[in-house]
Symmetry: C2
């Protein structure tokens, strides 16, 4: 693959990333099959036509050039997957962000990190506890990752600003959300590390928060949840951490406290109960990491094929419905080679006819 | 064995049980080897002499007769191990009490029971929680077992007095401790079930509480701990429950609450986190019981031998020290048949030269 530091390749990559119908998984498959972002861009109209639809409208070059100027003007920089100092733990994810924007000290990405997340409406006691836990972990050389939300996130960053804090935000790197955290976000961009996946100027919307949460969980050896209501965003981060094979830790609370319900349920579901920084360090120490965790394992996109033909496309499309099914199931039922099925799915996706879901599932686009 | 309902056999059994140097394990071995308590009593002087000491002073017949009259006068009755309605789950224990005194409804022993224990100085909120948990479990037909101590125990009994409550006390059945629970103890003796292992008139002493705790844990399918400080009696009950292969459950609390430390540590050590009666019922349902739990398995005392001679006694005694060692280790190191070693240990014990410890360990008497 070309050096992603070359401006022309960066532009081609960003054009792919910023375009509709192209998520991280499709992006990886295109780069793996065509060898470069530019070659993928040139191949897309033909792929989409074979998928039975119109090619996705690619973001124009000029828009990416403006974005790159803006990133430079903000004093930020890009990190591209595949090139240092892109964080290696994050690169393990199937859905690793192809590009990140960062402001601050990228050397923080070289140190072991723990995510510390929790309720926005946390109790004062829990916030003080989270700040002290972050301090304790920081004193041991552990970097704290959080989401710069109100409540626990804010306390986690405050406790680790001196020792090393990484804030991952849902919107663009120049957007201050929540507004009262503007000074805190500026301080982290200067003394810690601020990370955004969305382009500058993008206001955070509801769908951006789960994307943000996957980065928080993906950067860390483990995620600690402090006070979380059932079905809260913090629990999504914890679930993602478990999916990524990372340690999931939770701080317990009284059954009489509604804000403890999410954490207590996590512990019932197998999360490690932690009370102190020592508990957290014990849980993430290399010997303790669960067997399915394979450090340094980069996600490898599935193999594609140049032999997919109309018969294959009809067969696979006929097996799809609006109900998501595992790709493995499609391969089995179609009795076709996996690279053929993956190729047909990529073509359908670029044609806007396919949606990808968590857990390697796909469905017809609604 | 003779029918333990025969008064003469009851007297002989109680004479053994109430005598020094004869704990439950020795009692079982004597009964298994000699077939009846009376035969064991007659054999003891000879066994002790072979063990190199004087025979333990057996409690006189007249003292037991007075005890039996007192038990009858109190409206209590004996339960002897091996005869219904002695509780079958308790009979599984290696250290099952050979005899219990009970007052109240023995039919409560036929229903599934959960032990609910905790701190004497528990918070008001935790006491209210324990009372409600006991009520919820009672509503499902589960009997509550506890120790009639202040705090959580009291709340557990109060919540289950209507539905079924069993109180196990450390002293004699006629001793009210703590004094402020006299009315509660009388109510349980009338409407629930009151259980004591010590003879009437025995004031509870520190060494009686772990004995009491083993009965609480032994009667129940599982033990729930609500608020417990580290190294508290409730944790001993939980540890005993785990040793007996029963479910250990704990109610979590904030790391900021010192009274939650014991429970949180239990959960870290593998106890099931419970918040509701449903959580408890789920944990103790038959399918959930841990594999090493074998319901209905009665403890079988080790086989003894009539062939032990002086050479064997010297060999085994030479391997003993004041440091407790597992009996299995003695068997291996002496290279003698297990029944010979067990016989020598029994003789040494009756001679006052041996002490038995938890986990099948023995040492020279200090």
């Amino acid at each position: 693959m070309p050096d992603p530091a070359a401006p022309s390749d960066m532009i081609a990559r960003l054009r792919l990333i910023r375009s509709e119908n192209i998520g991280p998984i499709t992006y990886f498959q295109l780069l793996a099959r065509f060898g470069s972002a530019q070659a993928a861009i040139e191949a897309i109209p033909d792929l989409a036509a074979r998928g039975g639809g119109r090619a996705p409208r690619l973001v124009p070059r000029s828009q990416i050039e403006r974005e790159m100027e803006e990133v430079e003007r903000l004093g930020a920089r890009y990190l591209f997957l595949g090139s240092p100092p892109y964080p290696p733990l994050l690169a393990e994810l199937e859905t690793a962000p192809p590009a990140l924007m960062v402001q601050g000290h990228v050397t923080l990405l070289d140190q072991p990190a723990v995510a510390l997340v929790g309720a926005r409406n946390a109790s004062a006691a829990a916030c003080r506890y989270a700040r002290q836990l972050a301090q304790g972990l920081g004193a041991s050389g552990t970097i704290i990752v959080s989401g710069l939300a109100r409540g626990i996130d804010t306390a986690a960053h405050d406790g680790s600003l001196e020792s090393g804090t990484i804030a991952v935000i849902a919107g663009g790197i120049d957007i201050f959300y929540p507004p009262e955290n503007e000074a805190r976000q500026r301080a982290i961009a200067e003394r810690g590390l601020l990370i955004a996946e969305q382009a500058p100027g993008v206001e955070p919307r509801a769908r951006h928060f789960p994307y943000r949460n996957r980065i928080i969980a993906g950067l860390a050896l483990g995620t600690v949840v402090v006070e979380a209501a059932p079905r809260s965003g913090s629990l999504i981060t914890a679930r993602l951490a478990a999916e990524f094979g990372r340690e999931v830790m939770a701080v317990p609370g009284s059954p009489l406290d509604p804000r403890a319900q999410g954490c207590n349920q996590l512990i019932r579901d197998g999360a490690t109960l932690v009370q102190t920084a020592e508990d957290v360090l014990e849980a993430i120490e290399p010997g303790q990491i669960r067997p399915f965790r394979q450090p340094g394992r980069l996600y490898a996109p599935p193999e594609l094929s140049t032999d997919a033909d109309e018969r294959h496309r009809q067969l696979v499309a006929g097996l799809l419905s609006v109900t998501a099914v595992p790709i493995d199931e499609l391969i089995r039922q179609s009795d076709l080679p996996a690279p053929i099925v993956q190729t047909v799915l990529l073509e359908l996706e670029l044609a806007g006819r396919l949606e990808r879901h968590a857990g390697g599932k796909v469905s017809l686009a609604a």
